[in-house]
């Protein structure tokens, strides 16, 4: 007997008796010999909770995490402060252990959370309808591509090179199934999406154009112009957005985006080496019945009490099957709960204050570093600079417990000497000054 099952010898006798067989093996009699494993699973024997804990602790100790170094690493996930109350709430069994609200009468907590989350995302993005989450940022971008296909029946997708490399990658991978090709619009010398190239790239067969705000380099794009150019031939304008800067940036919905998606990790979720987090997906009313994923809707019960249910389920796979708007079933409900709690914790003013703090520190950091900017235009929380000797910088930085950022050359060969520096509210002036010192000393070492 394991610690999670409870079949005593007596239970077993009584149960086998009731079933009418002699042994558990009899219950597997229908499995043909030819496919039976016929031996034990080749895994180490089970261990006590204590031993498992110690083993996992030892593995975790071999990772250098964000409490052990001052990190300027961003590129899609960021070291933000998550308040303690989120841990408290997410550990509640009532949120942690149930499944999707198929029985709404006993799931009003989960359904109302979804409704509130949808409201918060709608507010952030400036678009009227939102779903209750998709997996994460890049697959939300891919999902938007599918919606554009269903809506327009066209076969081309046009994506800015400013879109996160993982989003471009996921879009291409999924597009192979959609039967669509993805073409890329380059960035200008200033690190923004090339408007003329975008206008050239769209045609009558373009289902959607994809932009990102801020873009991967941290540039605040001229979204209004870009969406206008993108939609000229009837394509759907999709904007992937970083949610926290939307505290002070004009929401994509007010600048011509038909769909706004993005990565939700920064909203109350852990880094967790890349997941789980959540993706958000908001759109204009026009796309409501083609949206992917769960949507919670408000209604009344038979006593007139206000309540919430999963609605517009005929979009979904369990009803629409091969004609579903997406195949998603399990999404990221718990992470979306963290998201709406976090946004409610920040509140109307707090989100603005946080975004303004990041904006000012980012500006300060770019100046303090004194390195040549790759994208000299407006930035809000991340920026790219050229570093003469990246290896020297990283070596020096590591010595003093700093992770200076992301090497752009990994994804952008044209910025081989590029470093992407991310700022969050946790990066203080002192941290930034220290990074600037390291950068200066690394520079001196090069020129010496």
């Amino acid at each position: 007997m394991s610690r999670y099952t409870g079949v005593t010898d007596r239970d077993l006798r009584e149960m086998l008796d009731a079933i009418g067989v002699d042994s558990i093996d009899d219950l597997f009699a229908e499995i043909p010999e030819g496919v039976r494993l016929g031996r034990a699973i080749d895994l180490p024997p089970g261990q006590s909770e204590q031993e498992v804990f110690e083993h996992l602790t030892a593995l975790a100790a071999r990772n250098r995490h964000c409490d052990e170094e001052v990190t300027f690493l961003g590129a899609g996930m960021y070291d933000h402060y998550v308040p303690a109350l989120i841990d408290t709430l997410l550990q509640r069994s009532e949120f942690l252990t149930p499944y999707t609200p198929y029985q709404p009468e006993v799931s009003q907590g989960g359904l109302q959370v979804m409704f509130e989350f949808q409201t918060a995302i709608s507010e952030l993005t400036g678009l009227p309808v939102s779903n209750a989450s998709v997996y994460e940022g890049p697959s939300a971008v891919a999902a938007a591509g599918y919606l554009a296909k269903l809506e327009t029946r066209r076969s081309r997708l046009v994506a800015s090179r400013g879109l996160h490399p993982h989003s471009r990658g996921a879009l291409r991978t999924h597009a192979a199934g959609y039967g669509m090709e993805v073409s890329e619009v380059p960035l200008t010398a200033e690190g923004a999406t090339d408007l003329d190239a975008l206008a050239e790239a769209v045609d009558d067969d373009t289902a959607a154009v994809f932009l990102q705000q801020p873009n991967f380099l941290g540039t605040v794009e001229e979204l209004g112009e870009l969406t206008e150019a993108g939609k000229r031939t009837g394509a759907v304008a999709v904007c992937a957005a970083d949610p926290l800067p939307l505290g002070i940036l004009t929401p994509p919905g007010e600048l011509g985006a038909d769909i706004c998606v993005g990565e939700g990790q920064t909203l109350g979720n852990r880094l967790d080496f890349g997941g789980p987090s959540f993706g958000f997906f908001a759109a204009t009313e026009r796309f409501l019945r083609k949206m992917p994923g769960r949507i919670a809707g408000e209604t009344r019960d038979l006593d007139g009490q206000r309540g919430f249910v999963l609605t517009l389920q005929t979009r979904e796979q369990h009803i629409r099957r091969e004609k579903a708007t997406h195949n998603i079933c399990t999404a990221q409900a718990l992470n979306a709960l963290a998201g709406v709690v976090y946004l409610s914790w920040l509140g109307r003013r707090g989100l603005v204050e946080l975004a303004e703090l990041m904006l000012r520190r980012t500006h300060y950091a770019r100046e303090a570093l004194g390195l040549e900017p790759i994208n000299p235009g407006p930035v809000v929380r991340e920026f790219a600079v050229r570093v003469p000797d990246l290896d020297a910088l990283f070596d020096r930085a590591r010595e003093v417990g700093i992770n200076p950022g992301y090497r752009l050359g990994r994804d952008y060969p044209e910025y081989e000497d590029g470093l992407l520096v991310a700022i969050t509210e946790r990066r203080t002036r002192a941290h930034i000054d220290r990074l600037a010192e390291v950068a200066a000393s690394a520079r001196q070492a090069v020129t010496a």
Partner: protein, 508 residues
């Protein structure tokens, strides 16, 4: 107007937005230690938001109370029996939250240099190896975010495989009992769905399969045991038919809980398998995620696996092996998502596999099947069985399907009514109205973590509900009575969708 002395007054739910009062706050920003340059000097006018997002303004106590109260309206697995067929609602071990929260896991940036993420990469590599052994297929990708995502990866892999051979195909076969995600995935992967019929014994109709498995078929998607909870005895013949047609064989791992250590999909001949870590491997369901849907594949599919892959490199000469992310995969279908996958889920799954070991996993499947057969036997007893006849009279695996048609015809209550009445008994209903093949279906999956007393209680409650309906069917048709809300008007929610709170909306 509500009466303040009525205990139920003031219970009508309000959203966090309606609790908002101007000026309240839960968040205090850290001090700004850099020059407070005006925003309009740093950003162009057009880029600056004119109106803030209308997020609520609440204090911390109100915020905590609001969500804590909401949580109390949820039935959950730590409180009671949750036999939701196809979902494997087994206990979520509490150790897992502790290890997932270790800062070395929770506070690790996904782009951290692999030299400084060896613990995480090793965990992923070990998990891959364990899943490979459980599936009987050597190559694993942990990337897909959920079962559906794994299914899509599987079909994209099939596509890449066939295109690489210069044989693009256009169809994918799914049984008519398939979970809805299967046909939905087929369409997303650019294929046409062809349904294969079910034989009288509940397995795949072999004649129908033979007729449809032609050179235009890319793949057959199957789950074994299937959604009826039945093991397909003809699996070897199915494998032959599909592979003879040159197609790949895909295993939907939703029902893996029935066969761990007993029969492996790789040994059944499957080329691609997905796992639902939130089903078989105890990742908490979270109210609808997160989960994860890793895949295991055979040698011939391996080149196409998503990129990056977690690999182990031996430096040779007794040096410690190094774990890394390998991006050098020329035939890869590419990435399915950002970063490496739902690592937090991998931590919990890995802890589970270490806790149970090979012997424990096999035992879990054995007890899962024992428990299901026991409940099936109890529900076949007189007074229950005639109202809820078993859909297919065979030994079931970890779940089984009964039909509520007996209750409908003889008592005037439907499966829906039985489900709603169960809520009053603090039991989560089984899956209802799926698979579509069975009229008034109830799909019951107890899982191995329920004790015999819990199973007996469930059977007794079902019996009591049926007896009650014999006396007065309107009790069940009006149920539930004791839940936070009663039956909800779903038609209204679909006809006039209200999917966000608005300050100006008149109360309807």
């Amino acid at each position: 107007m509500s009466d303040p002395l009525d205990p139920r007054a003031g219970e009508d739910t309000i959203t966090i937005f309606e609790r908002s009062r101007e000026g309240r706050r839960a968040f205090v920003a850290p001090k700004c230690d850099v020059p407070e340059v005006p925003v309009d000097e740093l950003l162009p006018r057009s880029a600056v938001r004119e109106r803030p997002a209308e997020l609520p303004e609440v204090s911390e106590p109100e915020l905590v109370r609001h969500y804590t109260t909401l949580s109390s309206k949820n039935f959950h697995l730590d409180e009671g029996f949750y036999p939701l067929g196809s979902c494997t609602m087994k206990h979520n071990p509490k150790l897992h939250e502790r290890v997932a929260a270790l800062p070395g896991h929770a506070r690790l940036h996904p782009l951290q240099d692999s030299a400084y993420a060896q613990g995480a990469l090793e965990l992923m590599w070990r998990l891959q190896s364990a899943l490979a052994e459980i599936a009987g297929l050597p190559h694993v990708s942990l990337q897909p975010s959920a079962g559906s995502h794994g299914e899509l990866a599987g079909l994209l892999l099939s596509r890449a495989y066939h295109e690489d051979r210069g044989e693009p195909r256009t169809k994918v076969l799914t049984p008519d009992t398939a979970h809805g995600t299967n046909p939905a995935t087929v369409t997303m992967a650019g294929y046409e769905v062809v349904k294969v019929g079910t034989a009288p014994d509940g397995g795949v109709d072999l004649d129908d399969l033979r007729a449809k498995a032609d050179a235009d078929v890319a793949c057959l998607m199957l789950t074994n045991p299937n959604t009826l909870g039945l093991f397909d005895r003809n699996i070897e013949e199915i494998e032959r038919i599909v592979h003879d047609a040159g197609a790949t064989l895909y295993y939907d791992g939703a029902n893996l809980n029935a066969v761990m250590g007993i029969a492996r999909p790789g040994d059944m001949g499957f080329d691609i398998v997905h796992f639902n870590l939130h089903k078989t491997f105890t990742q908490p369901h979270g109210g609808g995620g997160p989960g994860a849907g890793p895949i295991a594949v055979s040698d011939r599919i391996e080149p196409f696996l998503p990129s990056p892959q977690v690999v182990r490199r031996s430096e040779g000469d007794g040096a410690e092996p190094r774990f890394d992310l390998d991006y050098d995969r020329p035939k890869s279908i590419g990435r399915m998502r950002g970063f490496q996958g739902n690592f937090g889920v991998f931590v919990r799954t890995y802890a589970y596999i270490r806790s149970l070991g090979g012997d424990g996993l096999e035992q879990a499947s054995q007890v899962a099947v024992l428990n299901a057969n026991y409940v099936k036997a109890r529900l076949a007893e007189e007074g229950v069985g005639e109202y809820l006849p078993i859909a297919f009279d065979r030994t079931c695996m970890h779940e089984f399907v009964v039909s509520g048609r007996g209750a409908k015809e003889r008592l005037g209550i439907k499966t829906l009514d039985i489900a709603k009445r169960l809520l009053d008994h603090r039991i989560h209903p089984p899956t209802v109205y799926f698979p579509l093949l069975v009229e008034e279906a109830l799909m019951i999956e107890p899982t191995e973590t329920e004790t015999k007393e819990r199973l007996d209680h469930f059977a007794d409650v079902i019996r009591a509900i049926l007896e009650e309906a014999r006396e007065d069917p309107e009790i069940a048709t009006g149920a539930p009575y004791t839940t936070p809300v009663r039956r909800l008007d779903e038609a209204r929610a679909a006809k006039r969708p209200v999917v966000r709170w608005r300050p100006d909306r008149a109360d309807e």
